[in-house]
């Protein structure tokens, strides 16, 4: 199943004549790497990097949250892949409520990149200044 057919090499060599650059991606390393489908197992939503220098950041509606520890909650949003997108949380705290707003935008280093156009459920860690306690967590509007 993983045997490399000779055809690509031949096609590549032919392509060299017509356009040298056509071999660029064919020459990518790792073609010999064999592998099996990765073992499957329990998964968690990925963590979006939190950044303040995002490109074109926009407020997104978050779906859910959970407490990680006394002073950290994780908020669930849908965004693109974590190597292209990041989040910028904004929090206001009162005695009765913790209000959270999440902005999602492109990482500056991904601004000129082609990013897989998948919608991924991801979590954004949000730090609190005091323990969550019994306070409500709700959207900051």
């Amino acid at each position: 199943m993983r045997v490399r057919p000779p055809l690509p090499l031949a096609a590549c060599l032919l392509a060299v004549v017509a356009a040298l650059s056509a071999c660029g991606s064919a020459a990518e390393p790792g073609g010999d790497t064999s592998g099996v489908p990765a073992p499957t197992g329990p998964t968690r939503p990925g963590v979006l990097p939190t950044r303040s220098d995002l490109v074109g950041a926009q407020v997104v509606q978050w779906r859910d949250w959970r407490s990680v520890d006394d002073r950290t909650i994780e908020v669930t949003v849908t965004a693109g892949p974590a190597d292209c997108y990041g989040a910028e949380p904004e929090v206001t705290e009162s005695e009765t409520a913790v209000r959270v707003r999440i902005r999602v935008g492109l990482l500056p280093e991904a601004a000129d990149k082609d990013c897989p156009a998948i919608a991924k459920e991801s979590v954004v860690p949000v730090r609190l200044t005091s323990a969550l306690g019994d306070r409500k967590v709700e959207p900051l509007s």
């Binding site: 790497t33 499957t40 329990p42």
Partner: protein, 368 residues
Amino acid sequence: MDSSSEIRYRRSLRRLGVAALAAAVATIAALTAPAGAPAAANPTPARISGSDLSTSSAPAPVRLPGDKGVRNYTPAQLSSFERTGGDPEVLAHWTPERMKAAKPLDAPGDAQWVEDTARAVASKTAAVAAKPVAARLSPSVTNAPTPVTNFSITNGKLFIGGYESGSWCSASAINTASKRVLITAGHCVHDGQGGTWLQNLVFVPGYNAFNSDHDPVGRFQAYWLRTFNEWIDNSNLNRDVGFVTTYSGGDWNSTVVNTIGGHGLVYNGGTEFDTSIFGYPSNRDGGNVMWACWGTATDNSILDNKSKITCNFGGGSSGGPWTWNYDNASGLGSVRSVMSTVNSAGVNKGPYFDQAVVDAMNAANADW
């Protein structure tokens, strides 16, 4: 087929229903071969990149909250699921109540639907690997409303993590012999290099969260996943094509193609072609309803094997079909690429379909 090179878009307001299915049946005779494609198209050697053209496959992993790991099914259970349309616990778990609208990530700037500058690239005639076919359900068992649009439930939303979860792609049915194969992006079935197969895939033809009935013809649970090793091992976007074989399912417990019809698939054509693209981009109505974009796809670069078009379709549109010779009456066309990427300029790209894609489709067909 819209022959204009101007790129336009619209969203579906209604879903395809019984009349369109009937129309599809009526017009199928005219679709035995995509118009304009010589039956004996002479496949010329593709520009191949990515040296490993074989594919890998795995059963679609299933895991519900509370499960310690992925569910392992016995052959007897799998056989039973064929009758029930999948693991009943998985199908029952994901209810609308578990969904809150996932608010979209809007790509910066809402791009103008610009006309791509045509490039003098190969405009080879594509060869036919699969012909489109209409749904086989008799109209008497359908009760969908009369359609007013040409949006086709041959396309749908591919939820990752269960029905109405916050992760998704787009997909469409392909007419293969098993009548069970969907085509999507490779990254919609596997994370790529260093990653794993994705879990709990559920395909919902014509998904529309703006209607009271979100799944007009029901749901199809994934049975088997398949994609290129070149994607799995190297995340090579030139091989970002995936296939999902589905259990019988939907409202009539039938195969997916007999329920919603199936697109054809063409390959070895030029990278420049008129196309109609369908999907569920999160930056268009939150991915809650099917959108389409159509125009002329152009060659991306001599450096790779991709076509491009400026649709500004964001996250969630991945895997949606780039159809060629799309027929408004039947809602069917031939898939010539699938949505792969988007960039900050709103340019979408899709991989080139060559013989290796046909081989992968045939392997997926044999997965059942």
